[in-house]
Every structure is written in structure tokens, then in C-alpha cells.
Amino acid sequence: MASITLENLVKHYGAVEAVRGISFQVEDGEFLAILGPSGCGKSSTMRMIAGLEETSDGGIYYDDKLVNAVRARDRNVAMAFETYALYPTLTVYENIAFPLRSAKWKSERVDEKVREISHTMELTDLLDRMPGELSGGQAQRIGLARALVREPAVFLLDEPISHLDTRQRHRMRQFIRHLHLELQYTMIYVTHDQEEAMAMADRIVVMHEGLIRQIGTPDEVFNDPADDFVAGFVGEPPINFLEGSLVQSNGTLSLRFRGHLIPLPESLQSRGDSLPSEIKMGIRPFYVNLRLDPDEPYDLAGEVFVVETLQDFCIVSIDVDDERLQVVAPLSARVQRRERVHLKLDPEFMRFFDLQTGKAVGLG
């Protein structure tokens, strides 16, 4: 096992800059997720770590060793692929044994190792099957088994479960997390699904347009996003943004949003000078509360657009002027379509971003 360090990594494809100078470190035994929308450079980054793609600039280190010039097959990297990449002409057994055959292992040792990993991955009954006869979940378990059979220095997973149905995806998520805790491999997991990253990773690298937007624990990325992109990309249902200007009225610093004045939280009241005048506030749908009693104080008023009822809560979309906000409400709220409602925002969970740069402001 090894730690991985990227230093100012750059990748061009002709004139296209896929990765534009990124640096981060993965600790030995850490589970790191690279999260971003498609085209953000996350797959290119992973392919460079694996040695499948040459770097245009910058360095990749395994422990302290620069590996830019080391061939993929000599890096001792294992990878699980989005499409499983099982060899269709080989049985499950031979698929798992494939990496060992290249290392010219004796057949008794191969057999022992294949049976051992099949047991761990719950595949013992499938060894004689051909890849065409497997479900997606089974195929990916075999992909993982083949990757893990030779005890790699680093284990890379490239959107390994994005083709599975919801139920299998959840099972595989737990299984991969379990594997990591059990085997303590250094793992890098590439995904566009923020839920996967949040559920599994120790730390998350959020990428966008070839650059890193934030590196942090799932909690940090969710609760203290470094900019409005991270705030908008992470979280389901997505965060609400309210754009407006800062105003002083009656000694209170407030955000003027359309016709409404929303007081800033206590901690920011004295720091008006350090804040930009044009600001974007983000607040997650969990922290916007419906006020049905018209006498209670409120921040915003709007009209219910639609109510989606889920198992034990509902997501209410509310039009405040021309802005549509999402609110998570208990089932007991019982609001109707087109009903006028009042909203109260929880000041503790308001996050602020510079409207021009998108960077978070007023932190700490």
C-alpha cells in the first residue's frame, strides 16, 4: 500500500485542457473520492494516476517515488471500471486469475488465491460462469475481485456502480465501504454522484472544469462549501440560492432579496465591512421551515408550486416571486398546491458567497 501525491498535475488533449494543475495527497489507507460533473477532469486524473494516460505536466508520487515514467503494468495499481471490463471469453475463475497469470504464479497458488478472494467477495458459486451470464452487481463484484486478487498498492474505482439499479447500488456501496474498512487499502473513487461520495469516502475532492474546488471531509464539503459550485453540487435536494445586496436597516445587517429583508446571523452582524455588498446566500432545504401560522415572524412569503411526498417527508417547491425554492417539510405540514405560505430560514445554516467570485465569505 502507498500514499499518493499529485503535484500541479496538468492534462491536455490537443487544445482541450482537461486537468488544469491540481495538487492533493491521498494518505496510506485512506478512502478518497473525486467528485464532479462529467467533463470535470476526474477520470483523466484517475487515468493518469493509473498510468493509462500520460501527464502533460506536473508529478505523480507513490509514497516518495515519482512514477510519471513508470508503465501502468509496473505501478501495481488495480482498477474497477464503470463497464466492469470483464474478459468475455474467459470464465469468472479465469477472469479473477488473469492478473496472477501475468505474474507467472504457480497454478496451485493461483487456485488458492482465487478461491480465497472469491470467498471474501461472495462469488464462490459463480466461478464457472461466463461474464455474459451475470447480473450487473455480480459482474462488478468480479471486477473488484480481479482488482484485489494481487494486493495492489493503490485501488482505483472509476464510477464502479453507476450502471446498477438503485437497490444493487446501495448494496454495493455498503460492500465497498466494508471492503475498505476490512482491507485498509488506499482507495481512490471517482464518481459524479455526490451521494456515493458522501456515503463512502473519508475525504472528498470536488472538481469542476479541470480545477479543484474543495478538498474536505463529507461533513466539511456539505456544511462548509468553499464556493457556490460545491454548495450547489453537493446535497439532495439541492441547496437554495438567494441573490441580493446587503443593507443596514434599524441597526440590523440584512440581505435584501426581492422585496424581503432577511437578517444575517448574529455572528456576521459586526462584520459588515468585510463582506461584499452583492451577495449570494445558500441555505439547504432542510433548514427552511414552513410557517403555517400567519402571526409568527417569517423571512419570505411565497406560493406552493408542487408537493412531492416521499416516504416520511415531503419536498415542497415554493415560488417566492420568480425564484423557486425547495423546502423539506414533515408529512404533517399538509400544504396544498397554490397555497400561500410563509418561510423562516434558520440563521445558523445560512452560508454566504461573493456574488462576483462565488467564493464563500464570512466563514469562521
Binding site: 493509462l52 501502468a72 503494468r73 474478459y87 488473469f98 501475468s102
Partner: protein, 287 residues
């Protein structure tokens, strides 16, 4: 449970009627050729044609003894197999390169395709002159390249089949997932090992189909063989023509010779039919 037998509908009758017409249309000439090859000389040209006669092998004996057909068959097999091996060896590597590395960004691939756009007759005269001159050199002598030498035909057929083979093979290689190759590279295999252990096994149906088409083309080719050979390197298709004599066309031996030349390919294709259909639909059925 048994499905109820289908009633004969007007549409069904029409359908099978059409199938029957097409079947007769395609099989009758072949059947006529085979029947004629067994007819005694007197019955061959009789009008109206006779279908009942005393079968004889005279025509075959005549063709094989008089026209040295054994040599023609040997030549044909050698030229067809050698050019097919060459085409597949060059074509698979070229097609892989086009499919995987986009070599030449499509320009080279298009250029190769354009060489198929002019008729064979346009190049046969230059070929004749080129091979005549090469045949006079020591290199030409050593490699059996020259007029009436098999090397000339092998090179010509390779030139003519290669664009088609590359064009067919590129799509087969494009259908093979890149991730499979990536995976094998990470599993500790070199590029050449990946090609041998992962790519070629998956491309086998495509390579087989391409090889069969090349073989059939080379076997049936007439124009180049007619112009570039005389006796020693003569192939079957041209051999058939040798019964078009000054005294008239010897239809019996012609039919016998034609039957001999057609039969191996018919048997070959019938044996490989299922495999070829699978190969042609290879890309379409994969999930």
C-alpha cells in the same frame, strides 16, 4: 403446449412463392452447370435440352488431363491463401491502429478507401508493365514476382483486398471496449500481450469473416490472373477459359472445369455460414 398450426394465408402463399422464384433464379445456373458437366458430348448442345442422359466423367477427365487442371488448382490455392494471410496480417494491425489510436485522424483511412474507387481495369496495364520489369531483376526472380509468377498475383490481390479488409476490421476493433485493454494493461500485460490475449480473441469472428471474403475474392478473381499469367502461374478461373478454343467452345469441359472451381468455395461457405453471419452481426448484438 403446442402452438396451433398456422393456416395458409394469402400473404404466406405469396411469400413462399417469391422465395421459390428467387431460389430457382439463383440455383438454376449452378444446377445447369453441374448437370452439363456430366453430359456426354452429344447431349450437351441438344435442343430442347435433355434432363435424362447417361452420366459420364469424360468432361472431368478431359479437363484435368488436357488442361493441366491440377496445376491450376495448386496455383489458385497457393495464391489465394498466401494473399489472404498477408492481408490479414497487415490489415489487423493497421485496422487496430486506426480504431484505437485514430492514426492519421481519418485521413489515411479515407485515402486507403479511395484506392477502391477506381476499376481494376484501370490499373491492370500499369501492373503488367511493373511486374514485367520487376520480373527481369534479380529481386523479382528470387521472390517469384514477375509475369506468369505467383508472386505477382499475390501482391495484386493483397493490394486489392487490403482496403476492404481494413475497412471491415476497423469496425470490429472499435466495438471492443477500451476499458478491457486498460484493465489488462493494469493487470501486468504489455501492449503486445494485450493485443494477443484480449483483443485478438475478441476480434476472431471479425477476422474470420474478413479472411473468408478475401479468400473468396482471390479464388474467383479473373482479370488480373488473365493478364498477368500465361501457363505456369495460371489459376482456375482463367483455366476455364482455355476451353474457348478456335474450333469452338467445348461446353462439356467448360462446365466440368467451372464445377471444379466453384465447388471448394461453396463447401467452404456452407461450412462457415453460421460463423460468418455471427461475425457480420457481431457489433450489433453486443449489449
Amino acid at each position: 403446449m403446442y402452438q396451433q398450426q398456422k393456416r395458409a394465408t394469402p400473404f404466406g402463399v405469396l411469400r413462399y412463392g417469391l422465395v421459390l422464384v428467387v431460389l430457382l433464379w439463383t440455383t438454376f445456373p449452378i444446377a445447369w452447370m453441374i448437370i452439363t458437366s456430366f453430359k456426354p458430348a452429344d447431349d450437351v448442345m441438344r435442343m430442347p435440352p435433355v434432363f435424362v442422359f447417361k452420366p459420364t466423367f469424360d468432361n472431368y477427365v478431359y479437363a484435368i488431363e488436357k488442361a493441366n487442371f491440377a496445376l491450376f488448382i495448386r496455383n489458385t490455392v497457393f495464391v489465394a491463401v498466401a494473399s489472404t494471410v498477408l492481408v490479414i496480417a497487415l490489415g489487423t494491425l493497421a485496422a487496430y491502429s486506426f480504431a484505437r489510436y485514430n492514426t492519421g485522424e481519418g485521413h489515411i483511412l479515407f485515402f486507403i478507401l479511395t484506392t477502391k474507387m477506381f476499376p481494376a481495369i484501370a490499373v491492370v496495364l500499369p501492373y503488367f508493365i511493373i511486374f514485367r520489369e520487376i520480373g527481369k531483376t534479380s529481386v523479382g526472380q528470387a521472390l517469384a514476382v514477375g509475369l506468369d509468377r505467383p508472386g505477382a498475383l499475390i501482391i495484386s490481390y493483397t493490394m486489392f483486398n487490403l482496403p476492404f479488409a481494413i475497412w471491415l476490421l476497423v469496425s470490429f476493433f472499435q466495438d471492443i471496449s477500451r476499458e478491457l485493454e486498460d484493465s489488462a494493461r493494469l493487470d501486468g500485460y504489455s501492449r503486445l500481450q494485450v493485443l494477443a490475449k484480449v483483443v485478438f480473441p475478441l476480434a476472431t469472428p471479425g477476422i474470420a469473416v474478413t479472411a473468408v471474403f478475401c479468400l473468396i475474392f482471390s479464388w474467383n478473381e479473373f482479370l488480373f490472373a488473365y493478364i498477368l499469367t500465361r501457363d505456369a502461374a495460371r489459376t482456375i478461373t482463367v483455366g476455364v477459359e482455355s476451353f474457348f478454343t478456335l474450333r469452338g467452345i467445348l461446353w462439356g469441359p467448360v462446365a466440368a472445369a467451372a464445377t471444379i472451381s466453384v465447388l471448394p468455395m461453396i463447401i467452404f461457405v456452407l461450412l462457415l455460414q453460421r460463423y460468418m453471419v455471427r461475425g457480420l452481426t457481431f457489433g450489433a448484438v453486443r449489449g
